[in-house]
């Protein structure tokens, strides 16, 4: 990460993700759906602190990431239609929630409930796939720090999602980033919200246990 990118990330007032955070704050307080409830109606000030560091989590037998949890609240509590993946609204609220946990260590437990998801994620991480026949680990475990087409290969710790990626010139989710990698190795780009993607997110977050969240991060 270059010093310039780091400076953009640390600039809380005029960093590029600030528009999403401001939108997220407005949406957080806005009453939505027939239930006439805003996010803030249930979740008091400061109650979201540390929440993003514990996602994805297991809820009623399914792996749920933070974006999906926002939509669960929208459909079940607010009775409002869910937001589309990668929509400005969903990213804004997710970033606003995750911002509350900035600086807190990631805590994903490996226990009886989460083990099936983490095992599946680990298996996917180590599985060769796509026309290039590469696994995630071949780049991100074996060759991190080296260069791939001019870019440094990172260790794949998802500490700052949703991130503002300079290449995207916008905020994007971890699933969007994973789909980028899948496309890059010419594997099947899984649809947003797919079980396999959530399992991979789960494993990556467990793998980053103890690292501090830096949402919304800026990356090249």
């Amino acid at each position: 990460m270059s010093p310039e990118t780091r400076a953009m990330q640390d600039d809380e007032l005029t960093g590029p993700a600030v528009f999403w955070l401001l939108d997220g704050e407005a949406l957080w307080k806005r009453k939505e759906g027939p239930a006439g409830a805003a996010c803030a109606s249930c979740h008091g000030a400061g109650s979201m602190k540390g929440v993003a560091a514990r996602y994805p989590r297991v809820a009623s037998g399914r792996g749920v990431n933070l974006e999906q949890q926002v939509n669960v609240c929208r459909t079940e509590r607010q009775k409002a239609p869910p937001w589309a993946y990668e929509s400005r609204e969903l990213l804004a609220v997710t970033a606003y929630v995750a911002r509350e946990s900035r600086g807190m260590p990631i805590r994903i437990e490996w226990n009886a409930a989460t083990a099936p998801f983490l095992e599946a994620g680990r298996e996917a991480f180590n599985r060769r796939q796509g026309q290039l026949n590469l696994s995630c680990s071949q780049c991100h475990d074996d060759n991190w720090g080296k260069r791939l087409a001019g870019s440094v290969i990172p260790q794949a710790h998802p500490t700052g999602y949703p991130i503002y990626r300079l290449e995207w010139e916008a905020l994007g989710s971890l699933e969007r980033r994973l789909r980028n990698c899948l496309y890059g190795i010419r594997a099947e780009t899984l649809t947003y919200g797919a079980r396999e993607l959530v399992e991979l997110e789960f494993f990556l977050m467990w793998r980053a246990n103890g690292m501090k969240l830096e949402t919304p991060a800026v990356r090249p």
Binding site: T14, P16, V18, L22, E169, A170
Partner: protein
């Protein structure tokens, strides 16, 4: 929804050089890109930012298609007197945004 943000130090000493940071949320579409069917995507950029300090223009920037989205423009000026800094962005398709910030000079 918020589309422009400025960061001006609220207090400054007289004669001090102050740094002003401005950020505008904008796609900055260059006008050179094409869609998958080959049609040109029309240009849509911010073309100008003007900053006035108590009515006196202290900074002006003209932007062109090579600027990235969400342009951050940082500049400095001398804190002369207490008052207001007014920022005005104008661009293609009637884009216009204004923002102001107060500064106290001691």
């Amino acid at each position: 929804m918020a589309r422009v943000v400025v960061n001006v130090p609220p207090r400054a000493k007289r004669g001090e050089v102050i740094e002003i940071r401005t950020l505008a949320g904008h796609v900055m579409e260059t006008g050179f890109r094409r869609t998958q069917t080959g049609e040109l995507i029309p240009r849509d950029i911010i073309t100008q930012l003007v900053c006035t300090y108590n009515g006196v223009e202290v900074f002006r920037a003209e932007l062109h298609p090579a600027m990235a989205a969400n342009p951050l423009i940082t500049f400095t000026t001398v804190a002369a007197e207490s008052g207001t800094l007014e920022f005005k962005w104008t661009g293609d398709n009637g884009y216009a945004a204004t923002q102001s910030a107060a500064i106290t000079v001691v």
